[in-house]
């Protein structure tokens, strides 16, 4: 019997048992729905992450460290290490730092255009304008390779540093500053001066120094010796950042130029072991050179680097894990529906004993009978796949704007992206699974003895 004719007969007998067919395929539809949503969500998340990274991170950027443990899992316990003045403790883990010599070595390379170490400037307090109120605020170097959006003021284009006397203030400061009467509204902040007071690291004076100070200036001189030295750095606000959906930096630090950050850092660490030591550095690879190659090349010099792609990989790993979990639920639902198919088809074989007997008496091969029932199962799988994915697509497309809004992903971004190819693959896979499930009942049908089946009583 021709395959087309078998498929047609299978479809007809399913049409004749509409309720049973639809109920069985609905079980598969649940699995198909879950799988379609997980595929769409995974794709959406990946595309979103991709967009996030490509619009924020210079693809030529390399994030360089001296200690590869920084890139390794922080959940692992690190072994104890020998003391080295170039190490520092970060998140409870002692790491090797980059020295000024390392930075210069990197700068000397002809495949790298610029190297900016990550400065860790700290200030005691900041004051706005002429107001005397002191605020605690973090200070960070402005990263020109990461896109920020401002709600007031203006920023230089991507890749350009701000001026050394300029500062960018996070939008989250505005509320407090307005409450304190320092500014009337956000726009007021632009052009305001920020006075940041940094404290030099105290060096415990020796007994001789204290004696000498006492002799020359009395008690006041001793107090001056022990009192930490401070310096005020002044900046002018040029922009207020806003929290953006596609901006990676949601920094709540006052951002200043790299040079200013260096100045503050060096002032505060002068005389300590941390002077001119950097946790990491960002290098921009010359355009036309593959950052991956530079990454491999500097590895030989004892530097470890991550490219923009590696960063993507980290995010993708998280997305893939989450997607895998949802996919797992879908597969569990499918396994349940497989038993549904087996059950339905067994009943179908019992109900149609005479029909099977007749077909076999008329010379239909056992294999064709088996195929007839397997095709019925495949049709059920197809129907379930179509119903499930259709509901997922319709529901997902309808809810996408709402999800985007709720998660504040930014206009034009969808978290559910439906692609025809994976959905088609899924439906084909469902048909194969259904056929596999239909194999047991189909075998029973194929083995049916026509004489027994056609007994009239």
């Amino acid at each position: 019997m021709k395959t087309v004719d078998i498929a047609r007969r299978a479809a007809r007998s399913l049409r004749n048992a509409k309720a049973r067919t639809i109920l069985t395929s609905l079980a598969i539809a649940v699995g198909a729905f879950t799988i379609t949503v997980s595929l769409a969500a995974g794709e959406g998340a990946r595309q979103y992450a991709d967009k996030l990274i490509s619009s924020n991170v210079n693809s030529q950027a390399l994030f360089i460290v001296k200690d590869k443990t920084i890139f390794e899992s922080s959940t692992q316990q690190a072994p104890i290490r020998e003391y080295d003045s170039n190490t520092s403790s970060r998140n409870g883990v002692t790491v090797q730092q980059l020295t000024q010599a390392d930075i210069e070595k990197l700068e000397a390379r002809d495949d790298i255009t610029s190297v900016i170490p990550t400065f860790s400037p700290t200030v005691e307090y900041v004051r706005f304008g002429n107001n005397d109120t002191k605020f605690v605020a973090g200070v960070a170097a402005f990263d020109p390779s990461i896109l920020s959006e401002v709600s007031s003021g203006a920023l230089p284009s991507l890749g350009t540093q701000i001026k050394d006397t300029e500062a960018i203030v996070p939008g989250s400061f505005v509320g407090t500053l307005v409450d304190r009467g320092i500014i009337k509204n956000e726009g007021d902040l632009i052009g305001k001066t920020i006075a940041a007071t940094a404290t030099k690291a105290t060096v415990t004076p020796t007994a001789d120094q204290i004696t000498a100070a006492f002799v020359s200036g009395g008690e006041a001189a001793v107090q001056a010796l022990v009192k930490p030295e401070t310096k005020v750095f002044t900046f002018t606000v040029v922009g207020v950042t806003k929290k953006s959906a596609t901006a990676l930096s949601s920094s709540s630090d006052i951002q200043i130029s790299a040079n200013s950050a260096r100045a503050i850092t060096e002032y505060t660490t002068q005389g300590t072991s941390q002077y001119q030591k950097y946790f990491a550095a960002t290098a921009i690879v010359k355009s036309g050179v593959d950052p991956e190659k530079v990454k491999e090349s500097i590895k030989q010099d004892g530097f470890y680097a991550q490219t923009a792609k590696d960063l993507q990989g980290v995010i993708f790993t998280v997305v893939n894990t989450l997607q895998g979990i949802v996919l797992g639920f879908g597969i569990v639902a499918l396994i349940a529906s497989v038993f549904g198919i087996i059950n339905t088809q067994y009943i179908s074989v019992l109900e149609r004993t005479r029909e099977i007997g007749l077909m076999k008496a008329l010379g239909m091969r056992g294999r064709s009978v088996s195929r007839l029932f397997q095709f019925e199962a495949a049709w059920i799988g197809f129907l379930g796949g179509i119903i499930g994915s259709l509901i997922a697509v319709v529901l997902g497309s309808t809810l996408n704007p709402w999800i985007t809004d709720t998660l504040s992903l930014g206009a034009g971004n969808s978290i559910l992206i439906f692609q025809p190819v994976p959905i088609t693959f899924m439906i084909v896979a469902l048909m194969l699974i259904a056929m596999l499930a239909g194999w047991f009942p189909a075998r029973k049908a194929a083995k049916l003895d026509p004489i027994e089946a056609l007994r009239t009583e």
């Binding site: 007969r9 029909e355 007997g357 007749l358």
Partner: protein, 235 residues
Amino acid sequence: MIEVKNVTKTYGKKNSEFKALDDVSFTIPDGASVAIVGKSGSGKSTLMHVMSGLDHPESGEVVMNGIDILQLKNKAVDKFRAEKIGFIFQSFFVQANETCFDNVALPLEINNLSTRARKARIEEALLTVELTDKTKQKARNLSGGQKQRLAIARAIVNKPSIIFADEPTGNLDSTTGETIEDLLFSLNKQGGSTLIIVTHDSELAGKCNIQIYIKDGKIERMVGNGVSTIEEVQS
């Protein structure tokens, strides 16, 4: 010519052994109409099953056109049935959910005929049994007589050389039964295919050229065979 030689079929195991057919032999000329007559349990249905290759006896031969069908492999037997045999049953066994057209299409589909070739054959068969106007109707909407006519159309659509009819009028009232009988005999005379009717109705049996009376698995007597030669049958 159909030759049945020393066919023995037993059911059950040693102690409860039961011989459904006991050393049965006879010959039927091509184109004849034959009645296999017997009470229920006499072995007449088993004989039909053996002759159509559905059942396998322990010993004996069923030779058709020089080939012993009992020696054929399963696949070849299925092909033989699909090409050479038509069945008509007491309870019709038409598929109620299918249209008349699709019911008649089944044997042709089994024989791998193309859709186009099928259409003409099906229309011809439905015309023969006067069901042309019901072509697109579901079989469940037909009366008993119409269902049996549909079954006859399904049996003849393949132009088989033998048609087996198992109590073809058993489920019909006498008037309708007679119509079906007339149809079967006229087809037998026109088409030249051998008609083998299994029945306990001696009146129906009497209308056949040959009657084979069977009792307890043995041929009790055979009327018409030997007396009626092939020439007589065809006249």
